[in-house]
């Protein structure tokens, strides 16, 4: 009997390749976006197969909750913005066939070479270093991925929070431009049914996010997954008009945006008191400190993702949710 799991993995790989090809080769924007959303679903299955449930959780929350809505919203903006090129207007001349074949040759050659190299590297991958294994297994936090994120490679995560903040600041600068100000695509006529679904989903999402946050020290989950889930809740609120865009960033949101970076950086400075290196944890209170930093990160990630989706400098709760017919 043929063992089934290799067959599953091969089909999974083929499916990913076919989807990716259709995404980049499809003619319409909308088709490409929907295909990319399916690509995210299949990636989550790949993470599950590869024994990375932490990643599957993050991929689920981000691809289903945020990327999809973000891209569909971009389609909407493309159809609604002034200056949308008229259909039948001057289109880009198709590239010459020599040029097209050059692109095919580059991509095909590179793909073959990379596939061979990566397969070869994957066969000869080294064992986990014993020092790493000891450091992870003797740590006060049980989930190895959380240990790496917060302690052993904490500086990566610290800088990651900085990247999040930069992405928001960049978008804020763009959206502050006078021609773009007030161009937030607003929800129009959201049916009340969607609104009541969001009302029902809110407590469920909140509880799940807090559960994922809390369980992150010992099982798959943690600040990233919980933050992404809360960000998805923010996306739902924005889509149904429960929160509305603002042209300035209120103080509470500013605090939320910098909280993760601030607490992390503050801890890095503080830790110089008892150690020679920044970001080394006090032996007594590792778990407590880790949880505090994670809480701050979760809030920052949720706020940043919501604001990035909203595409505005700030948001506030709407007084009366938009009700459609």
């Amino acid at each position: 009997m043929i063992p089934l799991s290799p067959v599953f993995d091969v089909l999974l790989g083929l499916g990913l390749l076919w989807l990716a090809w259709r995404v980049v080769a499809s003619r319409g924007r909308f088709t490409a976006v929907v295909l990319f959303m399916v690509f995210g679903l299949v990636m989550a299955i790949a993470w599950a197969r590869l024994g990375a449930p932490d990643l599957a959780l993050a991929e689920a929350a981000i691809s289903a909750g945020i990327t999809g809505a973000l891209l569909l919203n971009a389609c909407k903006a493309a159809y609604a913005d002034p200056g949308h090129p008229q259909p039948g207007g001057p289109a880009t001349p198709p590239p010459s066939s020599a040029r097209r074949w050059l692109v095919y040759a580059i991509c095909g050659g590179l793909g073959t070479a990379l596939a061979a190299t990566m397969a070869w590297l994957a066969l000869g991958r080294p064992d986990v270093a014993p020092e790493l294994r000891d450091a992870v297994s003797g740590h006060a936090v049980d989930n190895p991925v959380t240990v790496i994120l917060l302690d052993l490679r904490g500086y990566d995560t610290l800088l990651e929070m900085a990247v999040l903040l930069m992405a928001f600041l960049g978008l804020r600068i763009l959206m502050g431009h006078r021609d773009l100000a007030g161009l937030h695509p607003l929800p129009e006529g959201v049916p009340s049914m969607a609104d009541s679904l969001v009302a029902m989903a809110t407590p469920i999402l909140l509880i799940t996010a807090l559960y994922l946050f809390w369980t992150g020290t010992e099982a798959p989950g943690g600040a990233f997954q919980a933050g992404a889930l809360l960000g998805a809740l923010g996306v739902m609120y924005r889509l149904t008009g429960r929160i509305e865009p603002l042209d300035h960033t209120p103080a509470a949101l500013r605090l939320g945006l910098i909280l993760g970076l601030g607490v992390f950086a503050g801890f890095a400075c503080l830790s110089l008191i008892w150690s020679d290196w920044p970001l080394s944890y006090p032996a007594m209170a590792t778990a407590g400190v880790a949880l505090t930093i994670e809480l701050a990160m979760m809030i920052s990630i949720a706020v940043t993702l919501t604001l990035l989706f909203s595409g505005s400098a700030g948001i506030r709760l709407a007084r009366a949710p938009v009700q459609g017919p």
Partner: protein, 95 residues
């Protein structure tokens, strides 16, 4: 073979059959509205059968509750999605 094994196999096979029916419907039905039937009924029934089969397989009450919760949420989402998409498609065909 114990009775729970037989039950699990039967339920999971039934679930897969409904998923197959959903896909066939999605491919073969002639227009958007009839394809919505394939989408919202067949596949959620399939998910329900698979959840039931896995609940029998897992054999724990909390695990079964978790699966029931997944199914209930899936049906909630499918209800709203079907309504929204059908209305959107109606609007298009009315124009």
């Amino acid at each position: 073979m114990s009775i729970s094994t037989v039950l699990t196999i039967a339920l999971v096979v039934a679930g897969c059959a409904f998923f197959l029916a959903g896909t066939v419907g999605l491919l073969r039905f002639p227009d958007t509205h009839s394809r919505l039937h394939a989408l919202t009924k067949a596949d959620n029934l399939g998910l329900g059968f698979i959840c039931a089969g896995l609940a029998v397989h897992g054999g724990s009450v909390t695990g079964a509750l978790e699966l029931a919760f997944v199914w209930a949420l899936a049906m909630m989402a499918a209800t709203v999605s079907a309504f929204l998409i059908a209305r959107w498609a109606d609007w298009t065909s009315d124009q």
